[in-house]
Symmetry: C2
Subunit: 286 residues, 2 copies
């Protein structure tokens, strides 16, 4: 969703929908909220993942470099830039990732095939180890859980930085956590060395014609934000209503589902049991 230049325009309807879905309750859509919106926050408030790309519309090397350059200025722990990003453009490699991430249902993520670019965000202490050789010191942080926290937060920051930059240029993105299902294959296929680990993927491209971002309502702030102490009541108070909102939204999209059902589907079974072993195999300890 590009709101910074005039090449695309957000419709009043989408904006109204987005606002009504993200604010605390419809009654709070007040004039002063609208007044606080600037092009950046408006873009953020009306964003949604794009899952259908225009395969015929490439992303130029210049635009990609511009977005990546903007992305890496984002905060990084001690400025260490504990990450690498693999740009996957080869159709055969994208096809492999599509196959690896195929869910049991057999309905694969076709946007991995369609998108002109698939990014793999890698936590990277291999380069840190290389850098430390200049000082003749040995890396020890990778023997601690701390390395994983540093690396994954760094990667999460990059994911959002790229998303914001890309959307400001009219591109669409969708984040793909499912690459963790096939960590071992990703490590092998992309020659990821010791002290690196693939964290998350992202399909990037121009949205297919007529495809607008689907803005998904979030929990009201009172279900997420706590003041000065954690208070579980805030979430409990809003859960039933949010679940109903999401149920209605899924119904509109032709799916019989609720938020709690979705979470149960994902989280009630042990997943990626071998992740710890693969992680340790890359030279990390806890």
């Amino acid at each position: 969703m590009n709101l910074n230049n005039s090449t695309t325009k957000i419709s009043k309807e989408l904006l109204d929908f987005a606002l009504s879905s993200v604010v605390q309750s419809p009654n709070t859509i007040e004039e002063n909220r609208r007044k606080l919106m600037n092009p950046t926050t408006q873009q953020m408030l009306t964003r949604g993942s794009i899952r259908k790309f225009d395969a015929s519309k490439p992303v130029s090397k210049e635009l990609l470099d511009h977005l990546l350059t903007a992305m890496i200025q984002a905060p990084s722990y001690v400025g260490g830039q504990q990450f690498s990003v693999i740009v996957v453009q080869d159709p055969a490699q994208k096809e492999k990732i599509y196959e690896y991430t195929m869910p049991a249902s057999g309905k694969g993520m076709t946007y991995i095939q369609q998108a002109p670019i698939f990014l793999i965000f890698v936590m990277d202490f291999n380069k840190i180890e290389t850098a430390m050789k200049v000082e003749n010191t040995e890396i020890q942080v990778t023997d601690s859980l701390e390395a994983l926290l540093i690396g994954t937060v760094d990667v999460g920051i990059l994911v959002e930085a790229f998303t914001v930059a890309a959307e400001s240029h009219g591109l669409g993105t969708v984040t793909v956590g499912a690459i963790r299902k096939c960590s071992a294959q990703i490590i092998k296929d992309f020659n990821l060395p010791q002290k690196t680990f693939p964290i998350v993927g992202m399909a990037v491209g121009f949205p297919a014609e007529g495809v607008l971002p689907k803005v998904t309502p979030r929990l009201p702030l009172s279900g997420i934000i706590h003041y000065d102490t954690y208070n579980a009541q805030g979430f409990s108070n809003v859960l039933a209503e949010y679940n109903e909102t999401m149920k209605q939204l899924y119904a509109k999209r032709g799916i019989e589902l609720s938020w709690t059902k979705l979470l149960s589907n994902y989280y009630s079974k042990p997943i990626y049991k071998d992740l710890t072993e693969i992680y340790k195999g890359q030279g990390f300890k806890f």
Copy 2:
């Protein structure tokens, strides 16, 4: 750095510096790069952390709500919003965090005291467990490393989303990973329940008068971005030059340091050894 409205203006000098420091080499500052800049990417390219706040200038509740609302529309794994954010405004609590995070040098992070707001970003599967009770299912993902990856990436995304939104409104931020040094105290002081874990903090406020973001040069793209396969050579090729750039930058800031020395200082000793135990104590397994 607010580039979206006219209340603050970026100087041509800062922009030139930022561009010359972030592009591949001075020779590549071409007209077409500048053409690709829009207000969003310009803001991102010229950002830097703010470590000195105007303690007398509060952030209004309306502005904070606006930023938080924009923040939570960012992508989240399966839309699960596996996070909570604690807004710390109480000076006594901020003082405690300042003490907990005090480095051995005794030079504490005074911006934690100064900032009108300190945010604690918490990975939160406690609420997911609560939500799943609606379906009479039990959470199992927290027995896997996958939960940590989901939660920390979700948090990293939030950190950057808040940063971008806040900077678009002229606020400054600095991310504080050092709260992991005092995870146990944070858990206790803020009553974080089982299946939650504090990941990162952030000081937020209006910059003190005259304080501009210090734009820190990043590695050239060729040291971070890989095409279709991981290639360690890219980083090795640029390391010496980047290290020299950073050495000169530190010298300008009155510090005798290089990038490789900085990394050695942080990463050559085992840190936060008890993190795994504290994490497990919150009801997680690997």
